[in-house]
Structures are given as C-alpha cells and as structure tokens.
Amino acid sequence: MALVTAAAFLYLPAAQGFMSPEMARILAFHLPNAMVVIIAAVASGYYAFRYLAKGRSLLDDARSKVAASLATLFCVLTTVTGMVFAQVQWGAAWNWDPKQTCIFILLLIYAAYFVLRSGIEDPEKRAAVAAVYVLFAAVMTPMLGYVVPKYMAPLSLHPKQASLSPEYHSVVWSFTAGLIGLYAWLHNIAFRQERLRLALLTAEAED
C-alpha cells in the first residue's frame, strides 16, 4: 500500500492537459475509492440478504453493518478527493454533477441507516429492520443511477474519454487492488471486533 502511494507521487509523470498537473494525481486516488464504495455497498446488501434468508444469524448482520460503515467511509473519501480535484481543476468544489450527486445521496442513505440502527434497542429487531432497509435501498438506487444522469447529463463534469498516460492506468489499477486489500483487511478486523462483542453479550446472557 505504502509503495503504491509513494509511486503515485514519484513515479507518475505530471499529467498533461490539466490545469494543475501536480494535483491532478489525486485522480489516482479518486477512482479506486469509488470502486471500493461499490464493492462495500454490494457486500452490505449481500450480507443483509443472507441475514434474512439464512437463519437470521447476527453474525451476518454484523458483516452487513461493517460493510455499510466502510462504504460510508470510502464514500466520504471519494467525495473529498473528487471535491479537491474539482476545486483545483474548475474552481468550484460542488457542481451538481450527476455522479457527484449520486454519491452524495448514497452517503445520505448510509447516514440514515446508522441513525435507524441506533434507534432500535432489541438486537434482532434492529438487524431485521436494518437488513430490510439496505435491501429496499438497494432496489431503489439503480433507479437513481439511471434517472439522475439522464436528467442532468448536460451538467456532467465527469470525463467521457480517458486521455491519460499509460502510467496512470497501471497506478490506478494497482491502487485499486491495494485499496480492495485495505477494505478487506478493515472489514475483517471490524467484523472480528463485532463478533467478539456479540460473543461477550451472549456469554453474559448465558450465566
């Protein structure tokens, strides 16, 4: 991971055709972040489904929650890196660009998810409600991905063509791989913590 980060700044030549070539490197961070958001969101949905469909194990609920929190984290990172780039490149951090708006809405969905979770005491009820919310949102958000770009296409600032030097490609993809690794590692740690907490609670109840 550290290698890739270093490489991004040292090895990568300044990108041509950008206003501030040095800062444009942040693209190498922005894209992989966005991809991890998708992965985390799908993971959260998958575990929510498993919770409901396969015996309602609270472990699945823990996995779903962890994935959701990581999705939120990477959502924030994506938005921030995007905003930095936008500020430098076009002088304005927020532009109602369709993809930007979509990610922001996704952030709202996850924020609501955690508020919902915090409002329910009973662990099993909480898990069921949270899982249903994740799945309901999962069904409704593809419409978001379709509708928003369709109606806001003229405002899109996201480039259609990738006219970047080949070094960018290798950096972006290796960064993506690294970031996925980071995600998996964080997910694992957070999940194990949750599992421990659950085991502790169950043990207390058994006494």
Binding site: R56, E121, D122, P123, E124, L201, T202, E204, A205, E206, D207
Partner: protein, 219 residues
C-alpha cells in the same frame, strides 16, 4: 356457551416446548423452558412479575422468536412448528392486546376475522359478543367501553369461534369482577370440553386454580 361436543379427540392436540430461551442482548428473560401438554389440559404458567410469563406466551403464540429452543404444536397429526402456522391456530389475549377504540366492538371482531381470511356474519358476531357478556354493546365504539368490557372483548377476540386448538390467556381476569372471573372459568372449561389446550399465564390464585398443573418461572 356451546354444548360439550369434543372437536378434537384426546391426543390430537399436543404442544411441545424444548429448551426455549430468550435473551435481549445481554439481558436474559427466559432460561431453557421445556414443556409437554396435550389437548384437554390446562397448564398455568406462574411466576413473579418480570419472570418472563408474557414473553413465554408470546413465543408460543408465534409472535416472538426464541433465542434458542423449539416450539411445536401438533393438531391431528399435522405439525405446526413454524410461527405463522401457530399464529393461525392460536387464540391469544393479554393486557397489552389493544383493539381499535374508534371502531365498535362488532366492527373490531369483524375486522380481525376478515383480515385472517375468515368470514364473520353479523349474527355470528353477535353470538360471540353475547358469549362474553357484551350482548347489545356491539354497536358502541370501544372507546366507550369500561376496562372490564374491554377485557371481555379481548376474551371474545381470543375465543373466536372456538376453532383455536390452543388458547393462550395472559392474565385473563384483569379488570374483571366476580362474574367476569366466572366467565374466564367457563371459557377454559369450554376449551377443555372441546379437547383443546389452554395455557394460562397468571399470578392470580383464582386463575391458577383453573389449571391442572403449573410450571413456575423463577427470576
């Protein structure tokens, strides 16, 4: 009351609980309850406040999922171990069971019957109200009922048309006068005569006396 025509033969109705446990996070409410009962029996579930009587009754009714353990209700050879099937075969009344105050007594009974997929004619609704001593009050909104009357309506709700093989009564005499308590006794006898099973959760010694046996929940 209906004549004592047994609807279920001895042994056709059976309830089995095995190791039923319920915890909410770290708080344990029920610890490993096991029980076997057959049609024609009345089992009293006794214990101090907070010992989990209502929780146990709700689990048996299929309204709550146990943290561990199994509940199986068998009726004439057909097993109903999943909660939805139990909910359909149970008559349940408890103090926190509320009915719609803005609807009349009759409208309430009709609504809950229709929504369960059954048909309830006006005459039959009147009969059910009469059976719990609410004859002639069916057209009044429940908001105008006294607490004793509301309890009677709950009993009418639980009793239904007498098709429930398992009757679950949680503190049925609450808010009832002497005649009301006698009514509870009559309902229990009726269920027994039908060959059905009754579970009575209570602290009231008059109700405990109705049971053939008791199981005690500690705290």
């Amino acid at each position: 009351m209906e004549p004592g025509n047994p609807r279920w033969k001895p042994g056709e109705v059976a309830l089995r609980l095995e190791g039923v446990r319920k915890s909410y996070g770290a708080r344990r409410v029920l610890a490993g309850i096991s029980l076997e009962a057959r049609g024609g029996e009345v089992v009293a579930v006794v214990g101090p406040n907070g010992s989990g009587k209502s929780t146990l009754v709700r689990i048996v009714a299929g309204l709550l999922r146990p943290s561990r353990g199994e509940v199986a209700l068998t009726v004439a050879g057909g097993a109903a171990s999943d909660a939805a099937a139990r909910r359909a075969r149970v008559g349940y009344a408890s103090p926190d069971l509320a009915l719609y105050p803005e609807l009349t007594g009759r409208e309430n009974l009709e609504f809950f019957a229709t929504v369960a997929g059954k048909r309830l004619s006006t005459e039959e609704a009147e009969r059910r109200l009469a059976a719990v001593g609410l004859a002639g009050r069916g057209n009044d909104p429940v908001s105008e009922y006294s607490s004793g009357m509301r309890q009677r309506l709950r009993l009418a709700f639980a009793r239904g048309g007498g098709e429930a093989p398992l009757l679950l009564l949680d503190e049925p005499s609450l808010a009832l006068d002497e005649r009301g308590v006698a009514l509870v006794g009559a309902l229990v006898d009726e269920q027994r005569a039908r060959g059905g099973l009754t579970l009575l959760a209570t602290n009231d010694p008059r109700e405990t006396a109705l049971g053939d046996r008791s199981i005690v929940l500690g705290s």
